[in-house]
Symmetry: C2
Subunit: 110 residues, 2 copies
DNA sequence: CCGATACTTTACTAGTCAGTTGAATACAAG
DNA sequence: CTTGTATTCAACTGACTAGTAAAGTATCGG
């Protein structure tokens, strides 16, 4: 099941995907999308970011296949392409919490 | 279990961790470490990268808590701090493969 | 103490990228 | 066709960072 070996090409692709998630702004957008498919304008309002900025981030997330894109009239709706992202975030959160817990323990026995 | 909501601070921390893995070079180093704890010099030889470069990447991985550091005499041994990283990579690989499969399917019915 | 080896730090360069501004495109309504 | 709204594109700036070279630090053997 688990990739015992990551080939050179695959490493590049994986790193590229990680980079798509390595930006707080993009994670914030993903988080907003969790409420459901939304237009660019709605995301702009929800996040307080600039329109062009949000549009660019959405394109990057779309290029990395983390969001879907659907045009309807004058609006463009973006939505989550899957839940993997949040599984990834959960693992990271666990990692961070474990680290915090370890640090706490370290202080406790000083 | 799953974080239904990611707070602002947590988003920053998670993005920071993703960034640590968003570099092919660092993934390559992690991959090498899978064979076991190794010195900086051994990693330099295994990867063909510059010494200072490897040292710096290892520090970043250590700061993100993905590798352990142990000094022994004149050598410094780095090792994997856990297997989460590879779980993350596996999910990403699955994502990439699913995407490739979908593209293939798209071509097939043209 | 001296020199050698292993690693880290610092300073630099070149490339990348987030965010912004203003123009361009697409579509809808009048 | 014209106006207005929604989104994207292009150009720019400032910040960050990978890689490298050279100096600095630590540890061991003699």
């Amino acid at each position: 099941m688990a990739q015992s070996r990551l080939t050179g090409d695959m490493i590049d692709l994986v790193a590229e995907r990680f980079r798509a998630l390595a930006e707080p702004t993009r994670l914030q957008i993903m988080q907003e999308l969790r409420a459901g498919e939304q237009t660019v304008g709605a995301l702009v309002e929800a996040t307080g970011l600039g329109t062009a900025n949000v549009s660019k981030h959405l394109q990057q997330l779309h290029a990395a296949n983390f969001v879907t894109r659907r045009k309807e009239g004058v609006h463009v709706y973006y939505g989550l392409a899957g839940e993997e992202v949040f599984r990834l975030c959960d693992i990271m959160c666990g990692h961070i919490e474990a680290e915090a817990a370890a640090r706490k323990l370290l202080f406790a026995r000083s």
